[in-house]
Symmetry: C2
Subunit: 420 residues, 2 copies
């Protein structure tokens, strides 16, 4: 048997032990994990220094290097995030529906854990603790496959988590960190359909496409967030400008940042020059169609590719549209099903926009930047799904569970002639 299969089987056995814990026990386990992270801060930082030195030697710099970096404050933040997950409401065990059938059968739909979840992710070492905490909170075991650049840091964090698992008598395999980072091993992991219940890839589009192409286990993911703001003719333009600035500039490198602005032709002359000035003042490069360039002549010409792009940068594509229907058609064509925003004071237009678009999150008069598990009240977020299956949009602990059927009877048979 291959090493990765052996590891995965051990994780599945550990999943049974995790699933048997009640919420009190899972909470205490997570609090001890946070404590172990705190008390092993020095070890974690030493490991991180090795990763940083290797990355620097490879020429990694800037934002990439910063994502990898830990310091005492960041380690404390990681531990506190685990504490927050510990205190979330119990996502398992709830009876979500109850029916009593005429034949006397009592049917409950009850939330149970998924089983074994594998997370495939890139540089940030905090994902190791975050993902483990959320999976365990929902009663699952987890197989973590991080990036090679963070291996020392991830190993040190996992070692701290294992201390807490051991204290609670749970096999360390409940949080399995894959140390063999060859691509073929990841492919093998993603094909263990008899062991693994779900794979969640987090990272660049290339990683996510690789996972999707090679997986035989179910995958929940989003490739990218091409989020739109449509400024309707009935928009409050001051409000619309706030949403635009927040959506584009408050954190341009994340998936819920705005990438495209659509403006109704009736308000383009009033809105676009103001918007362009405010955005440029904040360093945003603008790329527009012909009609938006009529309002802001020194704007670059937007290409077809610009409208499909997730810039992850201070760049905005702009188009003037003739109607809300045109905005909807544009979003259907270029969108990524992630998050769309309409700014309008017309309730009918807002409802039509919401109904016509099937993106995971649709905002009316609110910033796309709220499309986030924490901001939408899910507690911590394990990812955002545009898979349109199981979960759609921000995913919290509950998305790591599933409803099953429990049926209680007093001897009901389906065919009465079956009675002895």
């Amino acid at each position: 048997m291959s090493d990765i299969r052996t590891q995965a089987l051990a994780c599945r056995d550990a999943a049974t032990a995790i699933a048997a814990l009640d919420n009190t026990a899972r909470r205490l386990l997570l609090l001890d994990m946070a404590q172990a992270i705190d008390s092993q801060t020095d070890t974690i930082l030493a490991a991180n220094e090795k990763d940083m030195a290797q990355a620097a030697a490879k020429g990694v710099q800037g934002a990439m290097l910063d994502r990898l970096r830990l310091d005492a404050g960041r380690v404390a933040t990681i531990a506190n995030a685990v504490r927050e997950v510990a205190d979330l409401p119990d996502p398992v065990g709830q009876v979500t529906r109850r029916d009593q059938l005429p034949n006397g059968l009592a049917i409950e739909r009850v939330r149970i854990p998924l089983g074994v979840i594998t997370m495939i992710y890139e540089a940030r070492p905090n994902v190791t603790a975050d993902a483990a905490a959320l999976c365990l909170k929902a009663g699952n075991a987890v197989i973590l496959r991080g990036g090679s650049e963070a291996l020392h840091s991830n190993t040190a964090i996992a070692a701290a988590l294992h201390v807490a698992l051991q204290k609670h008598g749970i096999p360390a395999a409940a949080v399995t960190l894959v140390e063999d980072l060859r691509r073929e091993t990841m492919v093998e992991l993603l094909q263990l359909a008899d062991i693994i219940d779900l794979a969640i890839p987090r990272g660049g589009e290339g990683l996510i496409r690789f996972v999707t192409e090679h997986a035989r286990v179910p995958v929940i993911k989003h490739y990218k967030g091409v989020c739109h703001l449509y400024v309707d003719k009935a928009a409050d333009l001051t409000l619309a400008l706030d949403l635009l600035i927040d959506g584009k500039t408050s954190r341009p490198g994340v998936c819920n940042a705005l990438e495209t602005l659509l403006v109704h032709r009736d308000v383009a002359a009033e809105f676009l020059p103001k918007a362009a000035a405010a955005l440029r003042q904040r360093g945003v490069e603008l790329r527009g169609d012909e009609r938006s360039r009529e309002q802001v002549p020194d704007m670059a010409v937007a290409s077809e590719d610009d409208y499909a792009a997730e810039f992850l940068d201070l760049i905005l594509a702009i188009r003037v549209v003739d109607s809300a229907d045109d905005a909807i058609a544009h979003i259907r064509r270029y969108g990524s099903d992630h998050t769309e925003v309409i700014a309008t004071t017309d309730q009918g237009t807002a409802d039509a926009f919401v109904h016509a678009l099937r993106s995971a999150v649709v905002m009316v008069n609110a910033s796309s930047r709220f499309s986030d598990g924490g901001e939408l009240g899910l507690g911590s977020e394990i990812g955002i799904s545009t898979t349109r299956l199981h979960a759609y949009g921000p995913m919290g602990a509950e998305s790591l569970t599933i409803e099953r059927f429990v049926v209680r009877g007093d001897g009901q048979v389906r065919h009465p002639q079956s009675r002895a």
Copy 2:
């Protein structure tokens, strides 16, 4: 562009038209579909005769041939099943959760259609109408890929459905029947991840494994139903015998039939001889372990394979166990996560059995044969999932929808410094 991709794109466009219909319109559409099936009975029967003749020429016989056969009564049943789906509660549009956040954001979780669903199935022509009706009821478009042996029948049924679609101004592509039945075309279909939201295979384990191995679109399925009845030491043995006979003999060829009987050692001597007599009287072949053969000496010896088998036939594997925990361990090892039954009067044992097992359906003192969408109150059933993701157990129309987020604000931004 390949033909199948062109067809799938047309289906996706039609999905937008279906999603725009309200429940009243979807209901009328389905009632007209039922009407069209009724009025085209002769055409459908003529097409079915061609399929029957081809199948007979190929040497198909017995149950296989019977599954393919239509007559006027069966066509009427198909039409009536569509009427039943028409009258199901609307599975889309419901607000499943509502939150108001401290910052004033109003968050709704709303059920929307999945989009485009593809059904891959074998001989029974009724699936063509059943699957189309359920997918449309939930606001989805569907791509149907049936078996070659039923192609004439499926084409005639789809033609009837198209008459109703045309009457309602919906593109026929909303119900697309794939007529190119080459395996490579099915593989291509299953890889259209940018178009198709879900594949549901229904048929033999071979077909389902083929679909799972080749799909890049999400797949919900179950391979087989190895359903267990555990007769506890505290069981009402008369009740247990009823469940056993119903589970094993009322329809042995279906996935919710019992395949294995586990009996607590304390009641084996009393229960097994009676059970063996009752089952043999109904033509059931028994295969047991050593301890069950002590009670019923002329029973065949069960192999390891027998305990993992879905016999789909009048054969039952039997084992005597030392405890409920042993029964749980046996089911964990050999089970298929489909449906398990405990017969016991001990509430604590029942609860422990339910909690320890994570099968999709767990029955206490009720027959495994109730593990069916219709019997559990879901209305019509599109399939049964052991995928443990999105849906787990019998799947009705609601499983063909997903919850998304709708957020209404009055200008909330995530970073107050974003205001202009």
